[in-house]
């Protein structure tokens, strides 16, 4: 198996503002979001980061997508370091998260071309890719409608195709089915399986057990910024349901019983 993504001892700490300290009910000025996280993802596999809210899943994905830099440790995507070769990493990944938005004023058609050009693609390649992806996601009928006038599901689809306009080797999704209706969620999950079949690597974060069970080849359970368990689904399940196994691990790490 070809290792596509490798995270080694990643650590990220944030300074908390006064407001954040109040929300977190703490007097400590810093919070460690990711604490020595290591894992590997392989070509043609879907890797799922599973954990409760605030566990550090999104921070891990932001580190991998070079939006933020780790305080310690490093990660590589297709052999490129996220700390030393961020620009090259960005060419290899497609990142989709709710914090990245598309300008509502523009149409899907324009935005697809715009982001294609930002990735250095030539016009004929952009056109071919657009025809393929727009048809696959049913965007072609809405290609000339401004994004602000599209439904939530259609906006999500447009965000997805824009994120992968350059046909990246690694696709990183933060909570891919969040806020989607069942039909759109199905289109997205089917597409993730297609990406896997095409030999792409997908890393996603979620707190939905069924999504991990359905899609993922490997899973990493993150609790309080640490990797509590990492491996193939069979290794992590250990003969139990994923849900039971998760709460067992959660209890072992935190001492809390849910």
């Amino acid at each position: 198996m070809e290792e596509i993504v490798r995270a080694e001892n990643l650590k990220k700490t944030f300074t908390l503002s006064k407001k954040q300290r109040k929300i977190e009910k703490t007097t400590i000025g810093r919070k460690t979001a990711v604490d020595g996280l290591s894992f590997s993802a392989y070509r043609g596999e879907i890797y799922g980061l599973l954990g409760p809210n605030g566990a550090g899943k999104t921070t891990t994905l932001r580190l991998l997508s070079t939006l933020i830099r780790p305080d310690a440790g490093d990660a590589s995507v297709c052999g490129r370091s996220v700390t030393k070769e961020a620009y090259k990493v960005r060419d290899k990944i497609g990142f989709m998260t709710s914090e990245l938005k598309l300008e509502g004023f523009f149409t899907p058609d324009y935005l697809f071309g715009f982001f294609g050009r930002l990735h250095g693609m030539d016009e004929s390649l952009i056109r071919r890719r657009k025809e393929d992806l727009f048809a696959r996601f049913g965007i072609d009928k809405f290609a000339e409608v401004k994004v602000q006038d599209l439904s939530t599901g259609m906006k999500q689809k447009v965000s997805l195709v824009v994120a992968i306009v350059h046909d990246p080797d690694v696709v990183i999704f933060d909570e891919p089915t969040n806020g989607l209706d069942v039909l759109t969620a199905k289109v997205v999950t089917d597409f993730l399986c297609e990406l896997k079949a095409m030999g792409k690597s997908v890393i996603l974060s979620t707190h939905i057990f069924s999504l991990v069970e359905k899609l993922c080849d490997r899973v990493g359970i993150i609790i309080d910024g640490k990797m509590a368990k990492d491996g193939t689904l069979d290794e992590v399940w250990a003969g139990k349901t994923l849900e039971d196994r998760f709460f067992e691990i959660y209890h072992t790490v935190t001492g809390e019983t849910i």
């Binding site: 939006l67 620009y87 090259k88 914090e99 990245l100």
Partner: protein
């Protein structure tokens, strides 16, 4: 390619939104309409002058020269001698003006030695600058005296005594003030034009998360910064030029002059320097607002920062308009250098080197700000800090 795509997006955003286009062009059109209407209301009665001027000891040659000059403008003049209480009558508006020459004026200027240190013979001209007719006579008569003096090798002075010759209120010296205030008005218009496009495009995009979507691609941060500043400067230039033209075309009407007269009073160099100065200020202001917008977390916060900078720029511009003599050190102060240079151009005291240095320095400052924006775009604390 990537830079072009970024720039093109900003142009498309602007030129395909009629609301933005109207917002940009409307101020200039409104300024022109409002100022022109005001000018027409103020000057509608000032069509034909019939000067009635009291004189004492006026030489025949000067009377003849003045009469010829007045006739040349299509007006008429009546010189009156031995008028009682002439000054009071000028002040009351019963007379256009009152000119007083020393006795045997021509002999005195013939004998006068400019290097002797003794005061030159004086001509006194009492008038009201607030009154259009009186002011017009003053302008015309001093021009006649200048011509006469030129022929006599500077043998006398006009209104050199300590008396009050201008019976107008200070507040009515409109035209001069406007001439000095124009650079301030230009900076204010340019600033508001730049604010209109930059805040929304930079702080707005950051707040909505659309800028982060661009940052996750492999495009360089310096390209993102340039991709904002260059097209936004072009767009702001359209708005600023619209407002500037509105002011320049309507001010002469407000001051009761023909646009052609104003245009003719400046040469090609003046216009070129004015254009360059305005064009150098635009990218500087856009880059400054873009830098503040990049730093700010929201449009609201960026507006607050920008307002402070705008107030500072306005205060400096007003100071430059009010202070009579300002040091050459201002050439290194961004925006202020352009204001001072523009004043020089508009008051026909052009300093070409000062104008060109100001243009160059403002562009250098703009480039430095672009680099600062690129640096900030790379900062996760600024771009992604909660």
């Amino acid at each position: 390619m990537k830079l072009l795509a970024l720039m093109k997006k900003e142009f498309v955003r602007f030129f395909s939104d009629p609301k933005l286009l109207i917002n940009m062009l409307l101020p200039g059109i409104l300024i022109y309409i409002i100022y022109s209407l005001m000018g027409n209301l103020i000057w509608q009665d000032a069509k034909e002058y019939k000067f009635v001027v009291a004189q004492t000891n006026a030489p025949e040659q000067i009377v003849a020269m003045t009469t010829a000059a007045v006739s040349g403008n299509g007006w008429s003049i009546e010189f009156q001698s031995g008028v009682q209480d002439a000054k009071e009558r000028v002040e009351k508006g019963e007379l256009t003006a009152y000119v007083v020459f020393p006795e045997v004026f021509e002999e005195k200027i013939g004998e006068y030695d400019a290097e002797s240190g003794t005061p030159a013979p004086q001509v006194e001209l009492y008038y009201r600058s607030a009154d259009e007719e009186s002011m017009s006579f003053f302008t015309l008569f001093t021009a006649v005296l200048d011509g006469y003096e030129h022929g006599k090798s500077n043998k006398f002075d006009v209104n050199a005594g300590g008396e009050k010759y201008d019976f107008s209120e200070e507040t009515n010296v409109f035209a001069t003030t406007m001439g000095r205030m124009l650079p301030f008005i230009v900076v204010a218009l340019v600033f508001s034009s730049c604010m209109g496009v930059t805040l929304e495009s930079v702080a707005g995009e950051k707040e909505r998360g659309t800028l982060a979507t661009v940052l996750v691609t492999s495009v360089r941060r310096s390209h993102v910064a340039l991709g904002k500043v260059v097209p936004l400067s072009c767009v702001a230039a359209i708005g600023a030029l619209s407002s500037f033209l509105g002011v320049v075309l309507s001010l002469p009407k407000l001051a009761g002059m023909a646009v052609g007269d104003l245009v003719a009073s400046y040469g090609f160099t003046s216009y070129l320097l004015l254009f360059l100065l305005i064009m150098s200020v635009i990218p500087l202001i856009v880059a400054a607002i873009a830098a503040l917008s990049t730093y700010a977390k929201s449009v609201k916060e960026a507006s607050a920062y920008t307002s402070i900078v705008m107030i500072v720029a306005m205060v400096l511009s007003i100071a430059a308009a009010v202070v009579q003599s300002i040091g050459s050190w201002t050439v290194v102060v961004p925006i202020l250098n352009a204001v001072v240079a523009m004043q020089g151009v508009l008051t026909l005291n052009i300093s070409v080197w000062q104008s060109l240095v100001s243009v160059g320095l403002n562009l250098v400052y703009a480039v430095l700000l672009v680099l600062l924006i690129a640096k900030m775009l790379s900062s996760e604390r600024i771009m992604f800090g909660k």
